[in-house]
């Protein structure tokens, strides 16, 4: 594509901007009912005028014609000759819509019949008699080519009419000004009439051909001596063909338009143009393509920087200095480039004024829009992708949310409903809320629709909580519209909104109070591109966890691994300061491609518990044997919003800033990944989607902290005055005993056939050492200990001589709420009794048992 074809692109892009701004301005004008300083109308006029002028360059005649009609009307509006009534503005809206649709199919725009619309617009123009032309005289210069009479008629008072001719190629070369920029410039000084390309039939779609001239009539209050500079032509080439001298007496009758003194008007009309242009100089129009390329390059630079960090010799002071500087510059560059793509969300919010206006009219409702946080900036890509979902939600609010004025009055609400669009930053994310003060979500209607469409059964529905019921509106195929109107029930639906938002890495929620209105909240990441992350390793593979989801890292060493991880029901938990954190093993998540069932959770928890016990024993053995050993378990405390859980990983690698690449479309459905990235060493690592993992594993997350300590969902915590760390075991099935964990060194698994009897004493060899085996039923009032082939030996922490306590069945290890009673059952060897899980539990003192069994061990002790 040649550079010059971009002229057409430029025209399309600029016209689109003009149309969008004009729509917003017209909406404001209609809502306010008047235009105090005339600024709005002037702006609208200039936008339409520019479109008219530029369209001529490309031969889009219908666009030019519609724009011309609108311009004539706007001109009268500007002069105060007509008032901005609802009907007049209405026809301008229609003109705007027609222009939009012509632009949408620009190649065929010339074959569209716009004559009716043009007539409708012109119908608002004041008749010749009304258009009190208080101009005294129309002085005309003699000229060979007659001036078209319409132009003379339209010539405002105090304006000069010039005939200008531009060699466009030359203008570009000499003054570096393209055709459309030229039109804009001229428009700021006056009005263009009948601009034409010569030779006729030419257009600039392929660029500026040689020898093509742009001829036009130009009216302006500027006098000939001042105009040369403005129009960038030498005075000899400017042809003044007419001048409408103002009638000084009639001037006061005119609306505030600076026509009194040419010099005064020169400064006045020049000033707004000037200051506008000056303000414009602070902004630069850059092709999006270039910004995207900049973003990509910044991403590559981050990758190279990461690679360099890996091979840098940080001991060398010079290298270290360079590495640091490179790091700083790269981060700054990346941040700044990201900001170039940030745009205020107000740009999107402003569209809805029109949407709401049209819909309100159509539905016979009075609806207003309010925006809060229009300044909040979002990455352009996210912004673009938000337009459709937001539009759908707003339309929904208008259609289903806000009630008719009569209904609202009946409810004691104000007749007009309000939709509030709110945007704000929070927790590193963008929040967008659409709140209406309408009827709220009709729960019954949801139930009905869901049953009708067979999306859920009666029983399933009954089991749903209110938030879950509301969530049903996101099911595909759901729409509470009976007839498919073109308002919002196209069958597109909230499910598309949800998936669009989720594709951006965001979440959407509904909150609604019946009768009071609905609030739809969207939460989105600030940017998709580069994020800081923590690299972890599991199953020999590396994964990235976005820093934003990471709260802290915990590593447990040695005995803590088995002592501080407890099992509650089917889950493993860790007591993190004041809360109980549920743990999930990343390995389990990776190995199961189906969401976890309760069974799976139970099985995994049990397996890990046994593994821990075994490893504990091995660890203890190594310790006793004096072999170097270390045992550790690491997990990451992950958070989504305020809720947290722990993810057990094999190893923590380190932090890295990564460039986020979206998942391939074929893998987009996989919930546990939110994207992929290339690490510093060139390997691909998957980025974990924390919410996806939480849902997949069904982990029970902890609630955001409450300082009044009311969370007591755990049975373990319930009404606990006294908490003790105990090892629970059973003698007979209905006899539960416990040993204080602080006194337990380890648990060994023994086979009864290895037990040796010497006289009255039993011994068993554990890791090469002969250990005295004590049976509790010999010393306490218990039923006989069942003899199984395999049993457990509990080895105490301190002992005079090696001994262990024989246990047929282990129940659990953990911290329990336990009120111990030391009075009811007094017996040597029993510390106390109490109820645990409704069962009477006897807490044993191992030392006392040993003393009973082998008093001679303790004789020497002082």
């Amino acid at each position: 594509m040649s550079e010059e074809a971009s002229l057409l692109e430029e025209f399309l892009a600029e016209s689109a901007e003009h149309l969008t701004r004009t729509e917003a301005d017209l909406t404001t004008l209609e809502r306010d009912g008047e235009d105090e300083d005339g600024e709005l109308v002037r702006r609208i006029f200039r936008a339409v005028h520019t479109i008219k002028g530029s369209s001529g360059f490309f031969g889009y005649v219908r666009i030019g014609a519609v724009a011309h009609a609108m311009e004539s009307l706007l001109d009268r509006l500007r002069e105060g000759q007509v008032k901005p009534t609802k009907e007049l503005l209405g026809v301008l809206f229609e003109g705007l819509d027609q222009l939009s649709s012509l632009f949408a199919d620009i190649e065929n725009s010339n074959s569209v019949d716009t004559s009716e619309l043009e007539a409708q617009i012109r119908a608002f123009l004041p008749g010749k008699s009304e258009a009190a032309k208080p101009c005294d005289t129309l002085k005309q210069q003699p000229t060979d080519t007659p001036v078209p009479p319409e132009i003379l008629e339209e010539l405002p008072c105090g304006h000069h009419l010039y005939r200008l001719s531009y060699d466009l190629r030359q203008m570009e070369k000499e003054h570096q000004i393209g055709p459309m920029a030229l039109v804009e410039r001229l428009s700021s000084f006056g009005n263009i009439h009948d601009g034409e390309l010569e030779p006729t039939g030419q257009n600039l779609r392929e660029g500026i051909p040689e020898g093509v001239h742009y001829r036009l009539y130009f009216s302006s209050v500027l006098e000939k001596e001042f105009i040369a500079d403005a129009v960038l032509l030498p005075p000899e080439e400017i042809d003044e063909v007419a001048y409408a001298a103002p009638d000084t007496a009639a001037i006061k009758a005119l609306a505030p338009q600076p026509v009194a003194k040419p010099t005064a008007s020169l400064t006045e009309s020049a000033k707004p143009a000037d200051s506008e242009r000056h303000a414009e100089a602070e902004f630069l129009k850059v092709r999006l393509e270039i910004l995207d390329k900049l973003m990509a390059l910044a991403g590559e630079l981050v990758l190279v920087r990461n690679q360099q960090l890996m091979i840098a010799d940080l001991d060398n002071a010079e290298e270290r200095g360079i590495t640091q500087r490179l790091d700083i510059v790269t981060s700054d560059l990346q941040e700044t480039i990201m900001r170039t793509r940030m745009q205020p969300i107000g740009g999107v919010f402003s569209r809805f004024g029109r949407v709401v206006r049209d819909l309100g009219r159509k539905l016979g409702k009075e609806i207003e829009i309010e925006t809060v946080g229009s300044d909040v900036e979002i990455d352009k890509n996210i912004l673009e992708a938000l337009i459709d979902p937001l539009t759908h939600i707003v339309r929904n609010s208008c259609d289903h949310g806000v009630e008719t004025p009569e209904e609202r009055e009946r409810q004691g609400k104000p007749r007009g409903g309000t939709i509030t669009l709110r945007a704000y930053h929070e927790g590193g994310q963008i929040n967008v809320e659409i709140q209406d003060d309408g009827a709220g979500v009709d729960r019954e209607a949801i139930r009905r629709k869901v049953l009708e469409k067979g999306l859920k059964s009666e029983t399933e529905l009954r089991a749903l909580s209110d938030p879950e019921l509301l969530g049903l509106i996101f099911l595909p195929g759901f729409s509470t519209n009976d007839k498919v109107t073109d308002v919002s029930g196209r069958g597109v639906g909230m499910d598309v909104v949800k998936s669009n938002v989720e594709n951006l890495g965001g979440v959407v929620e509904v909150q609604s109070d019946e009768g009071d209105g609905t609030c739809i909240k969207l939460r989105l990441p600030l940017t998709l591109a580069i994020i800081p992350s923590m690299i972890v390793e599991t199953c020999g593979q590396r994964f990235a966890i976005p820093q934003i989801n990471l709260e802290e890292l915990v590593t447990l060493y040695d005995e803590d691994v088995v002592e501080r991880i407890e099992c509650a029901g089917s889950r493993e938990v860790f007591r993190l300061r004041d809360t109980l954190l549920s743990l999930v093993h990343l390995q389990e998540v990776l190995e199961r491609s189906e969401p976890f069932t309760e069974e799976a959770r139970r099985e995994a928890t049990e397996r890990h518990r046994k593994t821990r016990q075994t490893r504990h024993a091995e660890f203890q053995a190594s310790r006793i044997a004096g072999k170097p050993c270390d045992w550790q378990l690491g997990f990451a405390v992950l958070k989504i919003g305020g809720s947290r859980f722990g993810l057990v990983i094999d190893r923590i690698v380190g932090t890295e800033e990564i460039v986020v690449k979206p998942m391939h479309r074929v893998l987009k459905e996989l919930p546990i990944y939110s994207g992929a990235t290339v690490l510093g060493d060139g390997h691909v690592a998957l980025i974990l989607d924390v919410q996806g993992i939480a849902r997949h594993s069904g982990v029970q997350m902890d609630e955001p902290q409450e300082t009044d300590g009311k969370e007591s969902k755990e049975i373990i915590l319930e009404g606990a005055d006294e908490r003790r760390r105990l090892l629970l075991f059973r003698n007979q099935p209905d006899e539960q005993l416990a040993l204080p964990l602080e006194q337990v060194s380890r648990i060994e698994h023994i086979e009864m056939k290895h037990v040796e009897r010497i006289g009255e004493r039993d011994y068993v060899t554990i890791h090469g050492t002969s250990v005295r085996l004590l049976q509790l039923d010999h010393y306490l009032d218990l039923s006989p200990t069942p003899k199984k082939d395999e049993m457990y030996a509990i080895i105490p922490k301190t002992s005079q001589q090696p001994y262990c306590i024989l246990v047929p069945e282990l129940v659990d290890i953990g911290e329990f709420a336990f009120q111990m009673n030391t009075d009811t059952y007094r017996h040597t060897g029993v510390e106390g009794t109490g109820l645990l899980d409704g069962k009477l539990t006897v807490v044993v003192e191992p030392e006392a048992i040993a003393r009973m069994a082998e008093p001679q061990w303790y004789r020497e002790a002082a």
Binding site: G299, E300, L303, Q541, L590, E591, S593, K661, H664, R665, V666, L667, L670, I672, Y673, A676, T677, V678, G682, H683, V684, A685, L686
Partner: protein, 163 residues
């Protein structure tokens, strides 16, 4: 990669095909769909991905999805060899992706008129394997001097939307 064409026909309208081997059988894809052939084959496994996905591969900073055609045809899994390559397809076919093959042969010119039908396809990959593979993936079989080549449709390798 050997760029020589070993078979040329006088037919006017020929298609150029990149020939490759999988499990010692010969396959080909239209060269117009191929972006490049790359030696990098160290793929990152993706848990939970469908069976026919080998994993992700980094090529010059861009992440490509690598598909294992073996599962498509029911061939046994095999480790990569020194001759293994990844054939990367153009983005006009789909989002960046490629297929892992045992070796890449020559570029052949074939006459589309001479593509043979289904029964011949079975001769190359076997009836049950053909049934397992998707119909649109196998465009036809082309008889060469010493063996048959199965022409594959690159656009049919990845499942379409909604599948």
């Amino acid at each position: 990669m050997n760029m020589e064409a070993t078979e040329t026909l006088e037919a006017v309208d020929t298609t150029q095909v990149v020939a490759f081997r999988l499990d010692d059988r010969l396959f080909g894809v239209d060269i117009r769909d191929v972006k490049e052939v790359n030696e990098e084959v160290a793929v990152t496994h993706i848990h939970h991905a469908p069976k026919n996905v080998s994993g992700y591969l980094n090529i010059r900073g861009q992440i490509h999805l690598v598909v294992d055609l073996r599962t498509e045809f029911g061939f046994a899994k095999a480790p990569t060899r020194p001759t293994s390559r990844v054939i990367i397809f153009k983005t006009s076919v789909d989002e960046p992706f490629g297929v892992l093959v045992d070796s890449v042969q020559d570029i052949l010119e074939i006459d589309p008129e001479r593509l043979v039908d289904r029964r011949a396809k079975e001769a190359v990959v076997g009836r049950s394997e053909l049934r397992r593979a998707r119909k649109d993936l196998c465009q036809g079989v082309y008889p060469l001097a010493k063996e048959l080549l199965m022409l594959l449709n690159a656009h049919a390798i990845l499942p379409k939307e909604g599948n």
